[in-house]
């Protein structure tokens, strides 16, 4: 088997047992790695009792997986997964950095974590040596403090184990902040200072296992590939294509903060009450000129380096550090909160990273709360004295801290927009779910669908097996814009930002050069990728234990997306309900689901998923 290290690390935190797991070639060929393999592992281990598994209980698995293309395809990532405390399904949440490369160089394709540690712990991996270590000294620490300690202690440990090596580089690390420790459902798994696997809420899963971090150093090479000359040639080719896209390299996604607002009218503004703005102060040029301290910042093998480091040098937010911010955080911690200056935006993004909250999920629930305050539904008293006015960065910062600590109203908002909306609807005796801009428990990415001008289309979120995840959209036609291609990126596991200008068939060539295994588009779209999609859909529909999704009710868009846009060049435009229902039916047909949105028996049988069919028949 080429491209794979050949073994997976299994860690049971309850018994402190560490072991090795292997998967047959046939399984790896079918499910690849990352998201695909996570889905398979979760189904095999928990599928039979999925609806009873508490995502924040010790029975849940936390999966940290690479794929065969990790480290080879420019822009390596890892895929974090498990049963999601947001959707109650499976989300493949990817995060960039050197972690996947170090892990493979240490001889592991991934980590399967089960159980719950008795006390705060972290995992230290040095090649074949694996240790569960005490994390009491970093428990409660913010992101930057945590990484600093992991770097220092990690290097000291490497030095102690092999003092003759020379100067040791730092191990790569993933970790959680206070929000993850407190099982906040909008908590992310973080890397470096600003990198996050946000969708899914796996920071809370890590916290529920008392696992603060994982640090890894591998001294071996990346695994053997089928054809190293071909792989080198393809790396050069992909890099050259990316180098041609200098605009994107220069500005990253940060150009979006103005573009998606002014041009395409698809940016969340004040909790999506509008999707248009003309705030030139939010242009990427202002960010670049005022706060960027590094213009190109990237991770292992990346030709694009779309990240930038930003830090205000003067003023009240001096010293806050984050990346660009990228578009999603410009939108969710800027426009969505009525904030339009680079300094305020950098400050909130830096704080959200430090607290270990996902910028998208966190910015969404902050905006939701602010709209309730605007409407007089949440009061200053409810908010523990905070006057949550649009545009007040300090007020939003204060509330974000309450969420991370689950203090006062923060305890409710820590459940995420959907769950908070359900509870507030009960306690306030007023339907506030209409203000929850979410999909099946997952806050929607910062790409609106009403103007029709952005890449998210009307079925994009409603039919996605990863719900509100804007990186996994269920658009039509499925071979061109659907989720199946994303599933390949997330299973291969690499960054699709480096694929924008590539021919579509290049990914199969790359996969073959690495693994030696051929893959045809039909094989992926009709069999393998589709099989992973059905498994994810099955577990999403099984849901539980606190919420389950009925496609007839929940395969839809947030109510606000059916209201007309109130401002901008697309004023009046919206998603037509009838048209949406038509597209939804078309999407169902295209992926082999019946009229009720359930994977058809005939399709599941053809894919060899008879077991899944039986479980769905019995339980839905």
């Amino acid at each position: 088997m080429r491209g794979y290290a050949g073994k997976f690390l299994e860690v049971d935190l309850s018994t402190e047992k560490v072991s090795e797991a292997k998967f047959r070639d046939s399984v790896l060929r079918q499910y690849i790695g990352g998201r695909g393999l996570a889905t398979k592992i979760l189904w095999d281990n928990l599928g039979g009792r999925w609806e009873t598994i508490d995502p924040l209980g010790p029975e849940n698995l936390l999966l940290v997986l690479t794929g065969p293309l990790t480290g080879f395809f420019p822009g390596g990532r890892i895929c974090v997964s498990g049963k999601s405390p947001q959707s109650n399904g499976v989300i493949g949440s990817t995060i960039a950095g050197e972690f996947g490369i170090e892990l493979k160089c240490a001889g592991w394709d991934g980590i399967i974590i089960m159980g719950k540690a008795e006390k705060p712990s972290y995992l230290f991996i040095f090649d074949s040596h694996v240790e569960i270590k005490d994390a009491s000294h970093i428990w409660g620490k913010n992101g930057k403090q945590t990484l600093k300690t992991l770097t220092r202690k990690g290097r000291a440990e490497l030095e102690r184990r092999n003092p003759n090596y020379g100067v040791w580089k730092e191990p790569a690390a993933i970790y959680i902040g206070p929000a993850g420790e407190n099982k906040v459902r909008v908590a992310a798994v973080l890397g470096k200072w600003t990198h996050a696997a946000g969708y899914g809420g796996y920071g809370a899963v890590m916290g529920s296992k008392n696992l603060k971090a994982v640090a890894v150093k591998g001294t071996g090479p990346l695994p053997e590939v089928y054809n190293i000359d071909k792989v080198s040639e393809l790396i050069d080719y992909v890099s050259r294509k990316c180098y041609e896209d200098d605009g994107f390299r220069r500005h990253g996604t940060g150009g979006g903060g103005y573009y998606f607002g002014y041009k395409t009218s698809s940016e969340p503004v004040r909790n999506w009450q509008e999707e248009w703005h003309d705030q030139k102060s939010f242009g990427v040029d202002r960010f670049e000129q005022r706060v960027w301290t590094k213009k190109y910042w990237g991770d292992f093998g990346c030709p694009t380096t779309c990240l930038k480091i930003a830090m205000p040098r003067v003023g009240p937010f001096k010293g806050a550090i984050t990346d660009n911010p990228d578009y999603e955080l410009e939108a969710y911690l800027g426009a969505n909160l009525g904030l339009f200056t680079p300094e305020e935006n950098v400050y909130l993004a830096s704080l959200i990273d430090d607290l270990g909250i996902c910028g998208i999920q966190g910015g969404n629930v902050l905006g939701f709360a602010a709209e309730l305050y605007q409407r007089g539904i949440l009061t200053k008293k409810d908010l523990g004295g905070i006057e949550l006015k649009w545009g007040d960065a300090n007020a939003f910062a204060a509330l974000a801290k309450k969420i991370a600590e689950r203090e006062g109203i923060g305890d409710l908002l820590a459940e995420g927009t959907y769950r908070a909306a359900i509870k507030l609807t009960e306690t306030k005796r007023k339907d506030v779910t209409q203000y929850a801009i979410q999909e099946k428990g997952v806050a929607i990415g910062a790409h609106g669908i009403r103007s029709g001008e952005d890449f998210a289309k009307e079925t994009g979120y409603a039919c996605s097996v990863q719900a509100g995840d804007h990186t996994s959209l269920a658009n039509l036609p499925i071979r061109k814009h659907g989720e199946l291609t994303t599933i390949f990126y997330d299973s291969g596991v690499y960054c699709f930002f480096n694929t924008f200008s590539l021919p579509r068939d290049l990914k199969w060539k790359f996969y073959e050069a690495v693994t030696g295994w051929k893959m045809t588009p039909d094989e992926w779209f009709d069999v393998k990728g589709l099989g992973i999609l059905q498994l994810q859909r099955a577990m999403l529909l099984l849901g539980g234990p606190d919420h389950r999704w009925n496609p007839k009710v929940h395969d839809t868009n947030p109510p606000r997306f059916f209201e007309p846009l109130p401002s901008g060049p697309y004023t009046g435009k919206t998603v037509d309900k009838k048209e949406f229902e038509k597209s939804k039916k078309e999407y169902y047909r295209a992926v082999g689901w019946d009229k009720d949105g359930v994977p058809k028996s005939s399709v599941l049988k053809r894919l060899g998923l008879e077991e899944v069919d039986k479980v769905l028949k019995r339980k839905l």
Binding site: K169, T219, P221, R249, T293, P303, I309
Partner: protein, 174 residues
């Protein structure tokens, strides 16, 4: 073929994006594998943003060569690079101790001191860095300048970069 001129790689850490393509190119060239820990150039990230590509600066007095008791180290007269004879090297670590920047490290599998050999005159790290337009590494002629001053420990370089990048907050992250 005309004789090669001695060269040097000028480094601009603030321009380093952390893409580590230099590690990939170096290990592919020397090992035919992607192997960050066997790369002759290693990118340290002791503080995010302050990435330091760490590699031999070819000190004018070559203290590493002088420190070797086994005659395993020599200077390539054409390029000015330090060459390591794998057979003679015992991985004793003397060269690491002698190096002002503690640049050499021990090959993780083959147990010899790993030192940049300037790829025989066409450094692959600088080539990929230039292709990407980062310009953190660039090949220049080696004059009679002072090079030893560039051979520094990653911790010391980082200590200065963080202040350049993050001002008065920089030291908090060390």
């Amino acid at each position: 073929m005309p004789p090669k001129e001695p060269i040097w790689i000028v480094r601009d850490y603030l321009r380093c994006s952390g893409c580590r393509k230099c590690e990939i190119a170096c290990s592919l060239f020397h090992e035919k594998r992607i192997w960050p820990e066997a790369s002759r150039i290693r990118v340290f990230m002791l503080v995010p943003g302050a990435e330091v590509p760490h590699f031999c600066a070819q000190c004018e007095d070559y203290p590493c060569v002088a420190s070797c008791s086994f005659s395993a180290l020599s200077v390539d007269k054409e390029t000015g690079a330090v060459l390591v004879d794998k057979e003679k090297c015992t991985a004793c670590g003397n060269c690491i101790e002698a190096c002002p920047g503690r640049v050499p490290h021990i090959h993780p599998r083959d147990n010899y001191a790993v030192i940049c050999d300037l790829c025989g005159g066409e450094p692959q790290c600088a080539k990929v860095c230039q292709e990407g337009g980062w310009n953190a590494l660039k090949v220049v002629d080696r004059g009679d300048g002072l090079y030893r001053i560039f051979s520094r420990k990653p911790e010391d370089i980082t200590r200065e970069l963080v202040i350049n990048l993050y001002g008065e907050h920089g030291e908090e992250f060390l």
